[in-house]
Symmetry: C2
Subunit: 376 residues, 2 copies
């Protein structure tokens, strides 16, 4: 008798140990698949499923970006980019809080909901609240035919492919890219961005996939950093602006799969309380990719170092000065400040993954969590 | 030779072991001192130092509330109350993030800055940014003649008296009360609140001082709860809406003075990651004072209980059902939903204090922290 040990799951993992790491490595392709069909060679963005007209857009005086968990973290980039390029104030909020507040929604409101599964209960409820009050709703989702995609006015699909691991990775990076495309499309329609800046960001978008691949090709330093922190009880992620948003996502990844209590803080808020928790050896992951905030971050890093923190800094190639203060420096390829999070999150995903593996955690199916939260 | 052991500090503490606990107990008086001079017996609010006219207020179409740390947590109540009573959208943000974003400030913008010391560097910078862009600025501060009070257009003093302990307590509760008075004053001037609701909230404000005293007169249960959690590595605070805002403040208090890694979460976000951290015995402080969110909170409490959490619930007198699920229930006197945080924070301050004392921490001067953050 001849027995074949055959494992469907292993086969689907394509040689990777876990779905999560497979999906992390699929990001260069996912980013490309989300971008390519929407940008032609003349740098014109065409979002087939977003049919809003210039006239409709001009009426919009308020934008809400509503989501939960990782999708909310992606939405935070949407806020930055729409405020910058489209000059409309944006309120980004988690769906479970937004639903029960006193939102100001009318026919001049645009709501952008973000949900990988397109079935997130609180996000769906926010969408319905917006529709009931005559707002226009965009959905950014990864699942064709999902409830949210059916009920929204306009749909933007992230072409990330199926995401199996509970901890979201490629859905997040493609959501970030979606936010950029949506903001730029609005800005062009409204005439609020000049051609030079537009072309610059477009060209930077095109380069993201290859730069993401470069990070994934060189992970030794991230593995070493993981060894330094995998036994920690507490970890802090700090950043400012877009770096704070990605800090939240990095912290959530680590929490979800390694069960280490990690927390993200706006670096400028540290001194208002949280710095009391920093003692000898406390790991602090400091994200410092934003040019105009770089010096401020350097001084925050010095503050935590002075209290004994073990600092892993993440910055852009070229910012070598940070090596004088941080214990480990992880570089991402140079990229325009507005798009750094698409790259800077990748070392953070890898860090969470390696740490969770070192701790023997069930990476793909963390305890207590479901892939898609369809209850409120 | 006769020696007198005389200690100035001990004398100033008026019989209390620490300034912090003395200041916690001063809250009923501080609340009263902040309210009384501003409400006459006919329920008319008169804010002497806020001279904004009805015409000026009517032009305002955007409000920013900007602060750091505890003052920011107080500002979050301002957002809720102004949106509800004055029907103007409010963006509340921490000063160090706000300063470097793309804020929309013009002559139709009102900025409210909150700072106990009136010297907080980032908050002051936000104020100056607003002034430069012709916005109207209110300052809420505890220190007469402070830089922020001098540079703002209108000043609202919290009459909390000197606050010595680094961890802010009576400054916070008086800031909350200030937010209510400012929102109501705006609402009356703009005619956006009806007389019945106005009178109700006013009467509730008058009752706060006595209700705060009632909490302080009966602290046995809070002491017992502190004994259950003081050895914890991690603590989570959860809530929704105003309860989430006070959860952030409660968590910050615990962090600052006990050095336990505590974190506040919007209860509806738990399932999107953080619930993975809940295991047998993890303390969860669940704040559930809001009537329309009570059932949602009950189900969040059940979720964390199912994962083994030790739950200390905080709710209003009368909500006995919660006892079936939570391990300990701390009641606050009945009060209108919009003002619960003035009371619900008091047990959280006491909890932080008792835990810090049990851990042998230097309560009044926690490591790494300064009372007033005058550097960026």
């Amino acid at each position: 008798v001849f027995t074949v040990n055959w494992d469907v799951e292993a086969a689907e993992k394509g040689g990777y140990d876990h779905f999560m790491i497979k999906e992390i490595y699929e990001q260069p392709k996912a980013i490309k698949d989300t971008l390519s069909p929407r940008i032609n060679k003349d740098n014109v963005i065409k979002l087939d499923d977003i049919k809003i007209t210039k006239e409709e857009l001009e009426k919009i005086n308020r934008v809400y970006i509503i989501a939960c968990g990782t999708a909310y973290h992606a939405g935070l980039l949407g806020k930055v980019l729409i405020e910058k390029y489209v000059k409309i104030p944006v309120i980004a909020d988690v769906a479970s809080e937004f639903r029960y507040g006193s939102p100001f929604i009318d026919e001049n409101t645009l709501m952008i909901v973000v949900s990988q599964s397109g079935e997130t209960a609180d996000t769906l409820a926010a969408l319905r609240l917006a529709k009931k009050n005559n707002a226009k709703v965009y959905a950014v989702t990864n699942v064709v035919g999902s409830t949210i995609s059916r009920e929204a006015d306009e749909v933007f699909y992230t072409w990330a492919g199926p995401e199996i691991a509970v901890a979201s990775t490629k859905a997040y990076t493609t959501q970030l890219v979606s936010m950029a495309l949506i903001a730029l499309d609005m800005a062009v329609k409204k005439g609020t961005i000049d051609k030079k800046e537009y072309d610059k960001v477009l060209n930077e978008l095109r380069g993201l996939s290859e730069k993401a691949q470069r990070i994934l090709d060189n992970t030794e330093l991230i593995k070493k950093a993981s060894e330094k922190i995998y036994k920690a009880q507490s970890v802090f992620f700090i950043g400012r602006g877009i770096d704070y948003d990605v800090a939240r996502e990095g912290s959530l990844k680590l929490k979800e799969i390694s069960y280490i209590h990690s927390e993200a803080m706006a670096a400028g808020e540290l001194k208002h309380g949280t710095i009391a928790l920093i003692e000898e050896g406390t790991p602090v992951i400091a994200i410092a990719t934003q040019e105009r905030l770089y010096d401020k971050m350097l001084s925050n890093i010095k503050e935590v170092k002075a209290r004994g923190a073990y600092v892993i800094a993440l910055t852009k190639q070229g910012n070598e000065e940070i090596e004088k203060t941080a214990d480990t420096v992880i570089y991402i390829p140079d990229v325009v400040d507005e798009l750094t999070s698409v790259l800077s999150v990748i070392p953070l995903q890898l860090l969470a993954y390696y740490v969770a593996v070192m701790r023997g955690c069930d990476v793909d199916k963390p305890r207590n969590l479901a892939k898609s939260v369809t209850v409120e």
